[in-house]
C-alpha cells in the first residue's frame, strides 16, 4: 500500500529526467518470505550510477545499480530480476534476511 508515508521517488525521477539524466526506475513487484521492503518500494538510478530510494535494506542495491546502468548502455526498455538467498552464481549479493524479491527495472522516457 502506498499510504501517507510515500517516499516521493517518482517526483525525484521526474526532476532527474528534466535535468537530462537517463533514468531507470526499479520497483519491487513481488516478495517472498521476510523481504526487507514491501511490494511497491522504489529506487531510481541514472547513467552514472547515482541512485535514490531503496528496494531492500541495502542488501542488493549495488547489483540493482549495475543492472540499471546495463539497461541504459544496452538501450533496453525493461528487465525483471530476482534476488534469492542462495543465488550466488548470478549475484555476488543476496538478501541477508533470507527473503526473496523480484525487482522490475524500466527506463523512464
Amino acid at each position: 500500500m502506498k499510504n501517507s508515508f510515500d517516499e516521493k521517488i517518482l517526483e525525484e525521477a521526474n526532476d532527474w529526467v528534466k535535468g537530462n539524466q537517463k533514468v531507470v526506475l526499479a520497483t519491487v513487484i513481488q516478495t517472498w518470505g521476510s523481504s526487507p521492503r514491501p511490494t511497491g518500494s522504489r529506487m531510481i538510478v541514472n547513467e552514472n550510477g547515482d541512485f535514490s530510494g531503496s528496494v531492500s535494506g541495502g542488501c542488493v542495491e549495488s547489483a540493482v545499480v549495475r543492472e540499471c546502468i546495463g539497461i541504459i548502455k544496452d538501450n533496453k526498455p525493461f528487465k525483471k530480476i530476482e534476488f534469492k538467498v542462495s543465488n550466488e552464481s548470478a549475484w555476488e549479493v543476496g538478501l541477508a534476511c533470507g527473503g526473496e524479491i523480484a525487482v522490475y527495472l524500466e527506463r523512464v522516457n
Binding site: M1, K2, E11, N14, T27, G40
Partner: protein, 226 residues
C-alpha cells in the same frame, strides 16, 4: 514507464486523488486506473482483478499474469490547532511523511508567513475553519494551544466526526480540566478517553522538536492501528 504517465501520476498525487498504476510487465506499458473511469483496451480483461486490488489497497502482480498493480491512497489530513513553536517542527516531520497538514490559529501574531513559510495558515477560529475543511474518521487532530477557547471547539468537532486520532497538548492537570469540560458538554467517557492527552509517546524530551517527534510518532502508530 512513459514520462507522460509519470508526470500524470505526480499531478494526481498533488491533487490528492486516489488511483492505481497498472503496468504490463511484458512491455512496460503503464496506465492510470481510476474508479469509475474506463480502463484501457490492453488491460480490460483484467478489470475485475484490478478492481479487487484497488478495493483492498493492495500492490502486487495479478496471479498468473504479467500485470502489476500499485494503489495510491489519499494522504491523511492532519489538522493542527495552534501555530505554535511545536507546530513548526511538526510540519517539518509531516512533510517527509507526506501527511496533508492544515494549521488553524485565530491569533494573527502566531499565524504569520514569516513563521510558517510555504504554508497557508487558516487565521480563523476552529468553528469557522471546520466549515471549509472536509473531515471524517480518516482525519487527525493535534490541538496545541492548551487554550480552552481555541482547543475545545476543535476537540468537540473531532469527537463528533470521530477522527481516528485526537491529541491535545497540556499537563495532566490541564487535561483533567479539559475532560471535565467535555463531560459537561455531554461527551461520554469513552469519547473523552479516546483523546491522547497529555499528547505524544513518552520520549523524555522537553524541547519543541522532541515534543513534535513524540507527537508524530504517536500519530504514525495510530495511523497503522486504524
Amino acid at each position: 514507464m512513459q514520462l507522460k504517465i509519470l508526470q500524470e501520476i505526480i499531478k494526481k498525487k498533488i491533487n490528492k486523488s486516489e488511483f492505481a498504476i497498472i503496468t504490463n510487465l511484458e512491455n512496460s506499458n503503464s496506465e492510470i486506473f481510476e474508479l469509475g473511469k474506463p480502463i484501457g483496451k490492453n488491460f480490460e480483461k483484467y478489470k475485475d482483478q484490478i478492481n479487487e486490488f484497488y478495493k483492498n489497497k493492495k500492490n502486487g502482480v495479478i496471479e498468473n499474469t504479467n500485470i502489476f498493480v500499485e494503489t495510491y491512497i489519499r494522504p491523511i489530513k492532519v489538522i493542527i490547532v495552534g501555530a505554535v513553536h511545536i507546530a513548526q517542527y511538526l510540519i517539518d516531520y509531516a512533510k517527509s511523511l507526506n501527511f496533508e497538514i492544515i494549521v488553524i490559529d485565530p491569533r494573527g501574531y502566531f499565524a504569520t508567513e514569516q513563521r510558517f513559510p510555504d504554508m497557508k495558515i487558516m487565521n480563523k477560529w476552529p468553528d469557522e475553519a471546520f466549515k471549509e475543511i472536509e473531515t471524517n474518521s480518516n482525519t487527525a487532530l493535534i490541538a496545541l494551544t492548551h487554550d480552552p477557547k481555541i482547543d475545545d471547539p476543535a476537540l468537540q468537532h473531532a469527537l463528533k466526526k470521530k477522527f481516528y486520532y485526537i491529541g491535545a497538548l497540556g499537563s495532566k492537570k490541564t487535561h483533567a480540566n479539559r475532560c471535565q469540560r467535555l463531560t459537561e458538554a455531554g461527551f461520554s467517557n469513552n469519547e473523552i478517553n479516546s483523546i491522547h492527552g497529555p499528547i505524544g509517546i513518552k520520549l523524555g524530551g522537553k524541547s519543541a522538536p522532541e515534543i513534535a517527534l513524540s507527537i508524530i510518532a504517536q500519530l504514525v502508530s495510530e495511523t497503522y492501528k486504524r
